[in-house]
Amino acid sequence: MTLSINKKMAAFSVVAALGLTACGKAPETAEAPAAAPEAAAETAAPLKIGFVYVGPTGDAGWTYAHDEARKALEAKYGDKIETTYVESVKEGADSERVIGQLARTGNDLIFTTSFGYMNPTLKVAGMNPEVKFEHASGYKRADNMGTFFTRAYQGRYLTGLVAGSMTETNVIGYVASFPIPEVIRGINAFTKGALEVNPDVKVKVVWASTWFDPAKEREAAETLMLQGADILTQHTDSAAVVQAAEAKGKFAIGYHSDMAVYGEKAHLTATIHNWEPLYTAKVEAVLNDTWTSEDLWPGIAEGTTDLAPFADVVPAAVRELVDAKKAALKAGEMRVFDGPLLNQAGEVIVAEGETMEDGALLGFNQYVQGVEGALPKN
């Protein structure tokens, strides 16, 4: 009897150890770069910067883009800064622990890069007034907590120009995640771009009801191609849509990062995020003691939103058009949602000569003309 209990306990401890190994993954990555601070502190006292990521750094998407910017900071500032990152941090209570730990271990500036970190960041910011926080995509701020996001919809608009010019069936497929303003804004900007160059174009949207499920994203893409779509794009987190287009000999436009590796023939271009200019400005401000809590929403003009290189199949005329519009957006000569802008019913949302203000953009909850189907109620 004793023997079997011992056996049982042995089994449980192995199980427990296995569980710990799995759970211990995320913090370990953080400890590795954080191991050397004492030696460095004596010489130059570098600025310590912490990053909290929602996904793995190799997700070819959202987190990947943030980590690329972190690496760029390291390359640029060398010994003057020291960065630490923690990846795959779940939103909610877990993130509060991670953010708090980064604050306590002497980080001077902490970037928290997911919407769900908003309240935990605010809470930790309240407890650590000497530390500065920058939160991506949220709307709550404090004296030592600023917010930032990207006008990715500007990139969507430009890729819409490409899709509208290159479609032969006049049907473009859009695999979407959930009907929230951020996603709807992207669909509308994309459609507006496509319509500007091709008045016959229709954008069909399929809601996959998930941010991440490669198999489901692929099936959504197949459905759209069945409906006649010959160019696809997606607002979900994997590259499955690009792959599906490649397999069927159709075109695709990536999102988050350059997805050309997933579809050599299919991939036309992609809307990508580049956080380096914004991160550099923030680090510079802290180094110069000029940092203030603010709400930044940079885009094409600042380089935060950009396009991946065009594939060879994209005609020169299309490239020129996109480059011209990009320059106009950059110079502030135009905005994506300049009037006249109509909704699906043909009613005017933005009158001629006017433009959509940021407040309305942040609450976009209807489709514009050119999108097919009804917007699901959220």
Binding site: V14, F212, S238, Q243
Partner: protein, 308 residues
């Protein structure tokens, strides 16, 4: 709806159901032997990542598939040592296996995220695949889909016709009695668990090499859990596993197809169809309680200590 569209829906349904069939068949065999392994999700992910890495490194998809199976086998061997030899709690061990597999696959696959490979391509049977309606679904799939049918027939015949099937069931119903008549309970349970692991690994390989040829963390997206429900849904009957898997497949496709056709149905409502289907079947099963009870392996989840 035109005939072409229906043919495509059928095609997609079979493809979507394939990983579910593989995982559920494996789990069904393990449960028939009285072992409840909740580690599918972890085994599938390890299979997916191992298959992808080996296929990327060696350039051979066949080796990738074997690596996926081997990874599933190893994971289930770990489960076997803990839950069968060391008689640990099966539920806790299985859950730990899922957590372990999810974490480990993310760890070893970290540098393979963002890479693409040329996936397994369909074997299109000439002439037959041109049959209207069903031709594409039945004769233009990739080889792993065909393999899932072979495995299904194999498991079906194993339980229907072979002595081995009887032994597995005897061990799952009453291990003490099986032991008394000279059956090697521990050995049979190991074999069943390893078969389950190999099947889960294969399902992982199907996901990362054929269905969506890429590796990303957590790419199985809960299919291991759906397959687990499927075994209950099928009330431990092999034939119903296949039916159920395709039903689930169809339900998750319809949610996307209906939108494409312009039906104004909430995607959230459609997304829950497979789960509603499971609950409905559970309710039907509950109404026929005696019958369901007859099908449930009596010693399911109970550890067996060999009498010395």
């Amino acid at each position: 709806m035109d005939i072409d569209l229906i043919a495509n829906i059928l095609f997609a349904t079979l493809r979507t159901g394939t990983p579910l069939i593989l995982i559920a068949l494996g789990e069904l065999v393990a449960e028939k032997a009285g072992v409840l392994n909740l580690g599918q999700e972890g085994m599938v992910l390890m299979g997916a990542v191992s298959g992808f890495i080996v296929a990327t490194v060696t350039g051979s998809l066949t080796l990738g598939v074997f690596a996926a199976i081997a990874a599933g086998l190893l994971m289930s061997l770990l489960f076997g040592v803990l839950a069968i030899s060391l008689v640990s709690n099966q539920v806790a061990t299985g859950l730990a296996l899922t957590i372990f597999g999810t974490g480990l696959s993310a760890f070893v696959g970290a540098s393979y995220v963002g890479q693409g490979i040329e996936g397994i391509t369909p074997w299109i049977v000439p002439v037959l695949s041109d049959i209207p309606l069903v031709g594409k679904a039945l004769f233009a799939q990739d080889p792993l889909v065909y393999l899932s049918w072979v495995l299904f027939i194999g498991v079906y015949l194993f339980f229907k016709k072979s002595r081995g099937g009887l032994v597995v069931r005897a061990v799952g119903e009453n291990p003490e009695a099986a032991n008394a008549v000279g059956m090697k309970v521990t050995r049979v349970r190991y074999a069943a668990v390893l078969f389950g692991g190999a099947m889960s690994g294969l399902a992982g390989g199907y996901l990362s090499l054929a269905y969506t040829p890429l590796w990303t963390e957590g790419m199985s997206a809960g299919r291991g859990w759906i397959a687990l429900a499927l075994v209950v849904f099928a009330s431990w009957k092999v034939s119903r596993v296949m039916l159920g898997a395709y039903l689930f497949g169809a339900a998750s496709i319809m949610h996307l197809v209906l939108q494409g056709l312009g039906f104004e149905v909430s995607p959230n409502l459609l997304a829950m169809l497979p789960y509603v289907a499971t609950i409905l079947v559970l309710m039907i099963l509950a109404n026929d309680a005696a019958k369901a009870k007859l099908n449930t392996p009596l010693s399911l989840g109970q550890p067996y200590r060999p009498q010395v």
